[in-house]
Each structure stands twice: as C-alpha cells, then as structure tokens.
Symmetry: C2
Subunit: 142 residues, 2 copies
DNA sequence: GTTGTTGTAGCTGATAAAGTTACAACAAAG
DNA sequence: CTTTGTTGTAACTTTATCAGCTACAACAAC
C-alpha cells in the first residue's frame, strides 16, 4: 500500500508556482495540465496547502502563490498538509487484539513505540528537505 | 493513507509462535483468535512469511513455527514480506506529468532521489529492530 | 477412513483516491 | 451592471486495496 500521490503533486504545484509566477497567472487549470490530473484534484490540494498556510489562492480573479519563502517549506510540511494522518500513525494497527491472550494484551505496549520511531525517522528525513533545495535542483536542469 | 495492518499482524503472529510453541500447536485458528481477525487473513500472511523464509507452516497436521532465529528477523524483513511494494516505492508518484512543461519534464529527476532517501531512512530504522528485541520487551510485561 | 488443518479460490463489503460534472460565489474588466 | 474567468465545493462514479466470509480440495496423522 502506497502513500497517495498528493505529496508529489504538491511539490509539483509549488515548483510550477515558483517557476511561472512572474510570467503568467498560475491557475488550477494550468497546474492541472502540467501535473496531468483533473483540475478539481489540484484545487482540493491547494485548499489543503492553504489551510496549512503554505499557499495563497485568490478566488474570482484566480491564481495561486506561495505564502512563505521556499526555505520555510519542508517536505514534512507538505506531507502533513495533504496526508490526513490525524492522530493515526503511518501504520494501521489491527484493532481489538484478544485481551485474554498475553500477547494480544501487550502487543500495543510492545510495538507502538517502535513504530513511532520508524515514523519519526521518516519525518526527520522529510523535515531536512526544503522546497528551496528542490527548486535549486530543478533550476540546474531547466 | 495508512500502511496496511499486515505488518503489525505479522509481528503479533511471530510473538505468539515464540510464546506458545512449547505449550501447544500454533494453528491459524489459534492465531486468528489472539489477533482477532479472520483465520484466512492469518493464513494469507503466513504464506507471505513462508515465501520470505521467515516461518515454516506444516500442512495437514497443522501448526506454524519460525524458520530462523528471532535475531535474524527484522521489522524490515517483515515489512518487505507482507507489503507488496515490488518495484514501486513507498510514495505513489503521479504518472504522466506533462513533458511539454519544464517542470513536468523534470519533476521525476528532481524528486525521485529525495523520496528514496526518505524511504531509506524509514527502512534503516526498521532494519535496526529485530523480533528478538520485541520479544524481550514482551517478556518483561507478561 | 476419520479428523483436523492448510492452501486457495471466489465473493462481499468497507474505505479511500481520483476522475468527472455541475454550479454557486466571487473578482475584475468592460 | 453584465460579462468573463476562476475558485470552492458538492455529488456521483470509477478504481483499487484490504479484510471478512464461505467453501472445499489437498494433505498428514491417527
């Protein structure tokens, strides 16, 4: 089971905004054609990024822009913005193990901390990469 | 989107095998009642673990056992055994970005390496935890 | 042969992502 | 104030995956 493509779409969107912001109005239709997904998918993701204070979207006249400098937007910020892991961790735990069994009774106590550590390692790595890093890489290719 | 519960079930199964192997025959029905899922789910996971060389399952007479010492079974081994991420990485990339757009043309080159690093960080952490570690923790509680 | 178990097929239901259509809300330009 | 282009969002559909369930052939041991 994979993590949804919303994270990679979010990165793509922010790169497009940064690259094209001075040349044209960056609308959800334009973004949809670069990412090659439906524009409603883009608008839904833009809303999630907006709620997280990462982008500004102007209704009516249209267009999206970043709400803060790229150095202050990490992959982890994007991940948290678009992936709804509220409260739940990365790993889905089988609920309701049999408490009459000593293993079932203690499996959570034994495993929860380990899984949190795994998730923390992933998040630390995500937090070490900013959109500015990614944008710099992109500039050398374009 | 969360990673399926098969990983946590696999850990639970191995703990049960280790705890009960000397007292009783560890059947899929017994495991199913401790984990509290359908026995077919257990059997499917046992098959995946068997293909990975982690457990032995005896048809007919019944029962499951570990195929190698717990110190040589890491969380990463289990993850790879039960989570079908063959070739595909942890993150689902939006396919087919628009190659007429400079961003769409380069998004893969720019992002793939970063995502691999994130996944590698997660897998390093998973690889540092063995079933023996988890079993030791469990013994102190039971 | 009887019994208990595994291995697996086939179906169902639940959940989530993403596509699609449609339209009200809104801003700016004419 | 009307037109135009766009966002925000609802509603439905499609697709994919997980997990529950039933059923039964294959198999081992007694």
């Amino acid at each position: 089971m994979q993590i949804s493509s919303r994270l990679t779409v979010a990165v793509h969107v922010l790169l497009c905004i940064e690259v094209f912001k001075d040349q044209r109005k960056v609308t959800s239709d334009f973004l949809a054609s670069s990412v090659n997904v439906n524009s409603v998918v883009i608008r839904r993701i833009l809303q999630q990024l907006k709620k997280a204070g990462i982008v500004r979207v102007t209704r009516g006249s249209g267009g999206a822009d970043t709400a803060r400098p790229l150095e202050e937007i990490t992959l982890l910020n994007l991940y948290h913005a678009v992936e709804c892991v509220d409260g739940e961790g990365l790993f889905h735990f089988h609920e309701d193990p049999n408490s009459l069994c000593p293993v079932g009774r203690n499996i959570h106590a034994v495993l929860d901390g380990r899984l949190e550590e795994v998730q923390a390692a992933m998040e630390r790595e995500m937090n070490s990469v900013t959109m500015q890093d990614i944008f710099n890489d992109a500039k050398t290719l374009m």
